[in-house]
């Protein structure tokens, strides 16, 4: 663990989810989940495949509507009924399926929905400022140090890692309050992963942005997360403060090997 933002116990969380339930027909993906992220916190969201992590964050970003439960931003109940709403609240996400536009080039992909225009702010009817966008893009990608042979190539033809890097660059660029990363380094190379982890560490410090990181990689969680929450079969089964010592406990909680592990993690 690198940075630990110290908070008074009563601080209002930036983002809070209460009693979230989501059913897909017969499948109950979320069976009553509570979650809270504080300002500048990096929260790890762990869990086995199919535990409901992606569903939870999709509910937060308005992609799915919760069947029950509520979402609070800075303590206020909000109805996030669409991704546009979430974006307006300053929440950005890298989805597991990346949500890229295969038919568009890199720069365009980064800016769809948030185009730079002349005059600014003419939503929909502004003149596209392609030059400004292309300039910006190069800067953004430099931070992540991804190697893209051709910025004008269609994203659909790029390699798995290149695509993921683009999705991460997009979310990082526009997050103002909460950044949600659903397995953002799954397809990334060694160096790119390092860069993304750096960004995850820097954003809270430099801009006070809170981050939810979904990852299966304990090393990464230990490296960057202040707190970690473990889900299993649609429920939160425990939480812990990640450190090399608690890594084993986290794994046990994820796998559901020992019930005690959860408690042990807590009491630590």
């Amino acid at each position: 663990m690198t940075t630990t933002t110290e908070r008074a116990p009563g601080t209002v969380p930036v983002l809070e989810v209460r009693g979230a339930v989501k059913r897909f027909g017969a499948v109950t993906a979320l069976a009553g989940v509570d979650l809270a992220v504080h300002r500048g916190e990096v929260l790890g969201l762990l869990g086995d495949n199919g535990a409901g992590k992606s569903t939870l964050i999709k509910a937060v970003t308005g992609v799915h509507q919760l069947d029950e439960g509520e979402i609070l931003l800075d303590g206020e109940r909000v109805a996030v009924t669409s991704p546009t709403g979430a974006r307006n609240h300053g929440i950005e996400a890298v989805y597991q399926d990346l949500a890229l536009f295969d038919n568009l080039d890199v720069a365009t992909n980064l800016y769809v929905g948030q185009e730079l225009t002349k005059p600014r702010g003419w939503r929909g009817f502004g003149w596209l400022d392609r030059k400004a966008m292309r300039r910006d893009v190069e800067e953004r990608l430099r931070t992540l140090q991804v190697h893209l042979p051709d910025l004008k190539g269609h994203v659909g033809l790029m390699s798995g890692g290149q695509r993921q890097a683009i999705a991460v660059a997009r979310a990082v660029a526009f997050a103002r309050r909460v950044l949600i990363l659903d397995e953002p380094t799954a397809a990334l190379g060694v160096r790119e992963t390092r860069n993304v982890l750096d960004v995850i560490r820097r954003l809270p410090e430099e801009h006070g942005i809170s981050i939810i990181l979904i990852s299966h990689n304990m090393d990464h969680v230990v490296q960057v997360c202040d707190n970690a929450v473990v889900m299993r079969q649609g429920r939160v089964v425990g939480s812990t403060r990640p450190s090399p010592e608690t890594a084993q406990d986290m794994v046990a909680m994820i796998v559901g090997a020992t019930e005690g592990a959860a408690t042990k993690g807590h009491q630590q």
Binding site: A26, T28, A31, V236, V237
Partner: protein
């Protein structure tokens, strides 16, 4: 650090409680009805028509409906396969004309009025046109079957006109006339033909590997190629089948009119496509059922028949048919939402009950 309680032990609970047993039974019944899907829809439409016009439900008239829907149904069964692969076959209507003329050549040229010659010729001629469609699309690496089948829409009509000299060829073999207009009791032979064909398509699509491949190609053509499905051959075969369906429809049309004529089947492919889509298939491929398709064809046929029975003027028929199609599909949208809703409620019940 916020301590999050281990909720594993606590029952999920929630507002959904009360007498699960009774509610469940009602729910279950509702779900069963709603899951009937397009059939439910058809029943609603037929009920409305029966109220508007008491003649509608007479056995003879139901036979008429069947007969009138049969041509579109036959085309739609072929079109279904094409649409499941994310394709389209615009040529079916023209291919009806071309293959019926080809079949009738035995009669015009050699005076051989025999079902054994005419029927296979029509089916084969249709298959041939379909083969050209498929080959152009697949081997010609065309981006979408819209273009080759649009071209065939034109070429087949042209060939029908040229070969027939613009003149109808009258006097079909008895077998053809029987299929087109004969009835067993109230039941038209054409309806029996549709039933047999539907069963065949069902088996091909759901019971054998070929059908599996069709769905796979529609779901992800590139993936199908990667796992070793002979994508090209399957695609071509699908267009051949669609053409053969057009050839089969040609038999019914020729039998209904006791003649082959070069303007037959004009634009019927649009009705066939509409039937498939009303029946719940997706234009983007990978989805569609035989039952849905039949119901789609019947919905179109029933509405048309109802309008004719009520002597609605042709211009108003356009308006009424268009409106009815939209309402029918909209009803299905509502229905399928209701289904999802009911499923969720049932899950809640079950969880609360245990």
């Amino acid at each position: 650090m916020t301590a999050v309680a281990d909720r594993e032990a606590a029952p999920p609970g929630g507002p959904a409680s009360g007498r699960p047993g009774q509610q469940s039974r009602g729910l279950h019944a509702a779900l069963t009805v709603v899951r009937l899907g397009p059939v439910l829809l058809l029943a609603i439409i037929m009920a409305v028509l029966a109220v508007l016009n008491p003649l509608f439900l007479s056995p003879v008239n139901l036979g008429n409906v069947g007969l009138e829907a049969s041509v579109v149904a036959i085309l739609a069964l072929g079109q279904l396969l094409v649409i499941v692969t994310a394709g389209i076959d615009l040529s079916q209507g023209s291919v009806i004309a071309m293959s019926s003329i080809f079949g009738a050549l035995w009669i015009r040229e050699l005076d051989l009025v025999s079902g054994w010659l005419v029927i296979p010729t029509m089916i084969l001629a249709g298959g041939l046109a379909g083969g050209v469609n498929g080959t152009l699309f697949v081997k010609g690496k065309l981006p979408h079957p819209f273009l080759p089948t649009l071209a065939m829409l034109m070429v087949a009509r042209g060939v029908a006109l040229i070969v027939s000299g613009g003149q109808p060829i009258t006097g079909m073999p008895d077998a053809v006339n029987l299929i087109g207009s004969g009835r067993i009791g109230y039941l038209p032979y054409a309806v029996v033909l549709v039933a047999v064909l539907a069963l065949l398509v069902y088996v091909l699509l759901r019971r054998i590997t070929w059908g599996q491949w069709i769905y796979a190609i529609g779901g992800n053509r590139e993936a199908a190629r990667r796992v070793g499905v002979p994508v090209d051959r399957v695609l071509i075969s699908v267009y051949v089948f669609s053409g053969m369906c057009a050839g089969t429809a040609a038999i019914v049309v020729s039998g209904q009119t006791n003649s082959a004529y070069p303007t037959a089947g004009n634009l019927m492919e649009l009705s066939a496509i509409a039937a498939v889509i009303i029946g719940g298939a997706s234009f983007f491929g990978g989805r569609g059922t035989v039952v849905g398709t039949l119901v789609g064809a019947l919905i179109l046929g029933v509405i048309q028949n109802g309008l004719n029975l009520m002597n609605v003027q042709s211009s108003w028929q356009y308006v009424a048919l268009g409106t009815a199609v939209v309402i029918a599909v909209e009803l299905d949208v509502v229905r399928s939402r209701l289904e999802t809703r009911l499923r969720v409620v049932r899950t809640e019940e079950t969880e609360a009950g245990t």
